[in-house]
């Protein structure tokens, strides 16, 4: 997919017209340049400043020159491979290709043998990973159920052990904290036979989520930097809540979340130009009746569709929530 191109071949649901895409893009650049994002973590701020951003260290406010944003979008590979331990289970993303990932993260499981509803365990995760590994419909795996029975401080590492030993497809993990993220990367590198081998064939996908509206926390900037240092694909995913954490309008929300995601992408591309990126969304509405954010709402799918188009426009593979 080339960069900044309008698709000519949408035969199904098309939520954004060409002029809408242009308007969202333009508004995003304007927002990032003149209003800026709230980004935390001195290391990240230094990186942004070094690349030409206007950084206010007192307020953690970063303003982005539009050319830097455009260059970063252009630097993102429009197609890349999410590798598995077994190359025949690799998944190529980009263009019009569609792949599926299982959802997570449950804290309970219906025991497949006793049918009892109980808290999930590490063994459950092993079993689910192996199950998804065998299912053709599942291309990429994410933590389906949490390992509730292990020391929670290193839960994410137990989960990594459970999955990596039962999966030959690409594994998209969710970790907090730089320490655990480093250890997780070490585990994957050990499997592949070194960091260089892991960079060549990344069997893991990293993730970082901005905090709407317009904020990226230090934990996330650290993970983005660490992942880009190792050349690992990073899923930068925003979950805006229309009317709650982003504007009530879908267009306003798309601009807001676009700015957040691009803010993270810029960091990744400065650290490692050409780093594979997944532009991620799980944006939905805030239901004003219950103050909850249903991922079953039609707006969730509408935003997913919009992000699909944005991804095609930017030439960046996307990751959207399914309903």
């Amino acid at each position: 997919m080339s960069k900044f191109t309008h698709e000519e071949d949408i035969y199904g649901y098309c939520i954004l017209r060409n002029e809408d895409l242009d308007a969202i893009h333009e508004a995003t650049l304007d927002l990032m340049e003149n209003y800026g994002l709230q980004i935390h973590g001195k290391e990240a701020l230094d990186i942004y400043a070094g690349a030409g951003c206007d950084v206010d260290y007192e307020t953690d406010r970063v303003k982005f020159p539009r050319n830097l944003v455009i260059d970063s979008i252009e630097a993102c590979p429009s197609e890349f491979t999410l590798c598995g331990r077994d190359p025949k289970n690799d998944t190529v993303v980009g263009g019009k290709k569609v792949a599926f990932k299982n959802f997570g993260t449950g804290v309970f499981i219906i025991d497949p043998y006793t049918h009892q509803l109980r808290e999930s365990t590490k063994q459950d995760l092993c079993d689910v990973a192996r199950f998804c590994d065998a299912m053709e419909a599942c291309d990429v795996f994410s933590i389906a159920v949490t390992a509730g029975d292990v020391n929670q401080k290193v839960r994410a590492l137990h989960e990594a052990e459970a999955v990596l030993n039962n999966l030959t497809k690409n594994f998209a993990h969710d970790l907090e904290g730089v320490k655990n993220t480093k250890r997780f990367i070490d585990m994957a590198a050990a499997i592949q036979g070194g960091y260089d081998k892991l960079r060549e064939r990344p069997i893991i996908t990293m993730g970082a989520c901005p905090n709407s509206p317009l904020e990226i926390n230090e934990n996330e900037t650290s993970i983005i930097k660490l992942s880009a240092d190792h050349g690992l694909p990073i899923d930068i995913l925003s979950m805006g809540l229309c009317g709650g954490t982003t504007p009530a309008t879908l267009a306003g929300t798309l601009v807001c979340t676009n700015a957040e995601i691009l803010g993270g992408i810029v960091l990744a591309e400065i650290v490692n130009k050409g780093n594979p990126i997944l532009y991620g969304t799980s944006t939905t509405i805030m239901d004003m009746k219950t103050a909850q954010s249903p991922v079953g709402a039609p707006e969730h799918a509408m935003c997913g569709a919009a992000v699909g188009q944005i991804g095609h426009y930017y030439g960046i593979p996307t990751n959207v929530g399914g309903t």
């Binding site: 949490t146 929670q152 839960r155 907090e176 926390n217 709650g244 805030m286 004003m288 009746k289 103050a291």
Partner: protein, 215 residues
């Protein structure tokens, strides 16, 4: 103007989120030399309670509730500045925050807002709050309630740490603990020994008011 009419106007001004009406009721009460603290705790507050119930029943939605909360804050702010508030029977003190490692605070903000407008003294510790900080604040503010919010399955565990830390500090039986957040359930509350799982802002207010009434 009769006292009943003023009290009714105060109540209605909250239900309709009408700041002008609220301030007018306050002015009328002052002109009649009526007790402003009482106006707050039985006039305006009656409006908040009504709205809280309506929100709980799904008859009004979040924006209406928040507008009304803003008017309530304005009215109570005006009254607090004029009066000696020690005369006001407090509905308890709540320490609330989003737990360490978690930055999700929209729900917690709504809870803090609504609880505050029900005459509860609220100390909002913000987000990414370590367990010990909840305890320190509970001691500092002589809290009756400690509320914690977690959105991630991974940060829920801090709610358990809070229970432990309260016990270690020897103040567990001095407070009621409430937990909330998307992955949080009654089951989790039972498991960690929290006093209540509160599903939303209304729930939290009701728990606090019921507990204070039965104390």
């Amino acid at each position: 103007m009769s006292k009943e009419a003023i009290w009714e106007a105060a109540k209605q001004s909250i239900i309709e989120a009408d700041e002008d009406m609220a301030l007018q009721a306050l002015a009328d009460a002052e002109a009649e030399g009526l007790d402003l603290v009482d106006l707050l705790s039985t006039g305006y507050s009656a409006g908040m309670q009504e709205l809280g119930d309506q929100f709980g029943r799904g008859e009004i939605f979040l924006p209406e509730l928040i507008f009304a909360t803003e008017v309530m804050k304005k009215a109570s702010g005006e009254i607090e500045s004029k009066m000696d508030m020690s005369a006001l029977p407090s509905n308890g003190t709540l320490v609330i925050g989003t737990v360490e490692g978690d930055v999700h605070d929209i729900g917690k903000g709504i809870v803090a807002s609504l609880v505050k407008t029900n005459g509860v003294e609220v100390h909002d510790l913000g987000r990414e709050v370590p367990a010990q900080k909840f305890i320190d604040a509970a001691i500092e503010y002589n809290a009756d309630f400690v509320g914690s919010s977690a959105l991630l399955t991974t940060t829920m565990t801090v709610q358990k740490d809070i229970e432990e830390a309260l016990k270690e500090a020897g103040i567990r039986d001095k407070v009621k603990t409430m937990i909330g957040g998307a992955p949080v359930t009654n089951r989790w509350a039972e498991k960690i020994g929290a006093d209540a799982y509160c599903e939303d802002a209304s729930d939290t207010v009701n728990f606090i008011l019921n507990w204070m009434a039965n104390k």
